[in-house]
Assembly symmetry: C2
Homo-oligomer: 424 residues x 2
């Protein structure tokens, strides 16, 4: 077997066998297959695609390239949730305690943000002293005691994916659905949960910008999960505007706490309760209606918020000190009309420019900066009315940079639904 | 401009502008564009293709990456001939003196063999003391005096192609027609001839194995030549069996000398006189019939052979000492029937195994080894009759290796024409 024949096969749109995929991926990890050969193969895959069987094989080869977390010591059923990455997406901060309060175990490992989307771990670190690195025994113990822990990724999970992903990022091969599916699913399978709920974002600022591709990705991931005996459900959700009103690490924590105390933006409420109901339903093997009722109850009776406080306490955080910049500037509309679009991608990049996101993996970020939207898509704004608040630090952006994120017109557009489809 | 956007454009089947191709190629030569990025782009080009305009631009960018040979000091019109590489292809050895004897200047730079095909420079070096490296002044002087010189490639011609070609070779991207066209034509244009005749081989053992692809390649190269004001003619020829009877450096020189003295295998005669007539015709701006008459005359009256002797003398060679192994073994047929196929690729690789070809660029080769075919495709052979003679050295091959190159059956197949088409 040699890598040039394998590349040539895929160039000619033929299917690769498990052995050929193993040769390519393991060879790349070992350094026998060179990066210039892997990138050629990745481009051939990106253009010519892969069959479901190839994608399932690729996922398992990646999965087996590193450690697989063992969560068998956790008493309850563990359900994991993953989002393909959105702007202002603080869902995990609310969802995790909410689901845990309903009796489903959340033993979650999250990542840091890179590029225009934030990461849950950065957000949690906006809570003073919150510990994201805790050892495995303490992690298991915490989940068994309070059903909930959210920590930083630990262990050498899926090293093959790390290498392949870094190469895809610089070779124009990020948009391939089979490559995205195998990357996400190998990481989720390595994280050890019993069941998986995936929030697949669609639209401007998301990984995929059209519903057809997102559907294909979702269907493929559900299939990979089933093949590995892990029930997997995908929820396709709109990402044409930032989720909720806050964008930026500390600001999103504050919005999440308000939510848990009863004050939630409509879109964030809809998404979080829907995802929570699905997670509770599969975690407890009960119907979705009963599950949704429990979810709403636990939001209203304060149990979800209490669970959040328990987690902060267990992980050493001080709930009274959350990083938020004191330098605030109000940006006012230069027009009167309906807000027809708020560009998530641009907003995400502006947070990065403010210092709240990373350009490089090792950048230290400013947890206190960001935006709070006063208006959402569909709202009416009059000239000189506040559109958005900027919480700034050292980073430099202009008023026009911000105004350019908004499209305002005298005629309102139809707002797309927040949840497009559930694929199971 | 950035390379990821350029790769992504080609991934999406869009046309690249001249500036984008310059950014990619010059960036690669300068090391700014990494090899793993270039290979990803090359795969996208291989799968999605390039427009003629893109290919013309790419050729010129490659051409301008290095020196361009100046042959303006040569009095006669200089016509160059290039073959895309065949097995047993000693055409240049006969063609160059033949055309020169008709009054057209041949100032040819040739290469060494790599892989399963031989190179003209290696063949000439089978003549004892033949000098392939001569300085530029002596080269021009020789051509002005005798109309003929064949030397080793000199100067830093098309460094971009050298780098790109080396990468294509190890990344499964050799089969792209636009990439082949720009590679061949950038080198030919850099060699400085006024007019170009290209022998595009088709079949087993050739770069392309089907006539449609070869036609596309030929049409594209003719167009690139015209765009650069160099008349270019392509002759599509069959390469399903080795050309002539001898395969191996010294053996091919001997066959060429016999040819020039009047004893030629039919296929080699047809090909060489056809190519020669085209070259004389465009070199002297006269009709093809008159040109063919001159070519045949100069073969018969000995002027072509005298021209060969002149070149050998000018370049210091001893015509009486040609490297040929004295260890000869006759291989006899195990069957009776018609020869339906002689596998060029296998034969070429066996010469390499005998020590007559290179695996790596710096290998020292045995100029005396090779094969002489006693039978060609279409011939009838009886069991135990001689099929082929092996001139061997240190390399090890088996009788079966050789017999496996022949397909013999009781029913004869139709022999394809040697010359498929002339594209101008």
């Amino acid at each position: 077997m040699n890598i040039i024949d394998i590349i040539t096969k895929k160039k000619n749109s033929l299917e690769l066998s498990q052995e050929e995929l193993e040769f390519a991926i393991n060879g790349f990890v070992d350094g026998v297959v060179k990066d210039y050969q892997m990138s050629s193969l990745l481009m051939a895959i990106t253009i010519n695609g892969m069959s479901d069987e190839e994608t399932i094989n690729l996922t398992n080869i990646m999965l087996n390239s590193g450690e697989i977390i063992d969560l068998s010591m956790i008493n309850n059923v563990v359900v994991d949730k993953h989002s393909t990455g959105g702007v202002g997406d603080k869902t995990t901060l609310v969802l995790a305690p909410l689901v845990a309060s309903c009796g489903v175990a959340i033993a979650k490992m999250s990542g840091r943000g890179l590029g225009h989307t934030g990461g849950t771990i950065d957000k949690l670190e906006a809570i003073k002293n919150f510990q994201v690195n805790i050892d495995n025994d303490a992690f298991i113990k915490q989940v068994n005691e309070i059903n909930l822990a959210v920590v930083s990724q630990k262990g050498n999970l899926v090293p093959a994916d790390k290498l392949v992903y870094a190469l895809r990022d610089v070779t124009g091969t990020t948009s391939s659905i089979p490559l995205i599916a195998s990357s996400i699913m190998s990481k989720k399978l390595a994280s050890g949960a019993d069941k998986i709920v995936l929030d697949v974002k669609v639209g401007n600022g998301a990984l995929l910008d059209n519903i057809e591709d997102a559907k294909k990705l979702a269907t493929l991931m559900v299939k990979i999960g089933k093949q590995n005996n892990k029930e997997t459900i995908c929820v396709l959700t709109n990402m044409d505007e930032p989720l909720g009103r806050a964008i930026g690490n500390g600001l999103e924590v504050i919005e999440s706490i308000k939510f848990l105390k009863g004050e939630a933006p409509e879109d964030l409420y809809t998404l979080t309760t829907s995802l929570a109901a699905i997670m509770v339903s599969i975690g407890k093997n009960q119907d979705i209606k009963t599950s949704l009722r429990e979810v709403v109850e636990n939001l209203e009776n304060g149990k979800a918020y209490q669970k959040f406080l328990d987690m902060v306490k267990y992980q050493g955080g001080d709930i009274n000190e959350i990083a938020v910049s004191s330098k605030v500037h109000s940006i006012r509309s230069s027009k009167t009309g309906f807000i027809n679009k708020i560009d998530s991608l641009k907003i995400g990049n502006l947070v990065k420019q403010l210092g709240g996101g990373r350009v490089n993996k090792d950048d230290v970020i400013d947890l206190g900066v960001g935006f709070v939207l006063n208006k959402k898509v569909g709202d009416y704004v009059v000239e000189n009315e506040e559109l958005i608040k900027v919480y700034y630090g050292k980073g430099d952006i202009t008023v026009n940079d911000i105004l350019n994120c908004f499209e305002i017109d005298v005629v309102a557009v139809d707002k797309p639904p927040l949840i497009y489809e559930i694929i199971r």
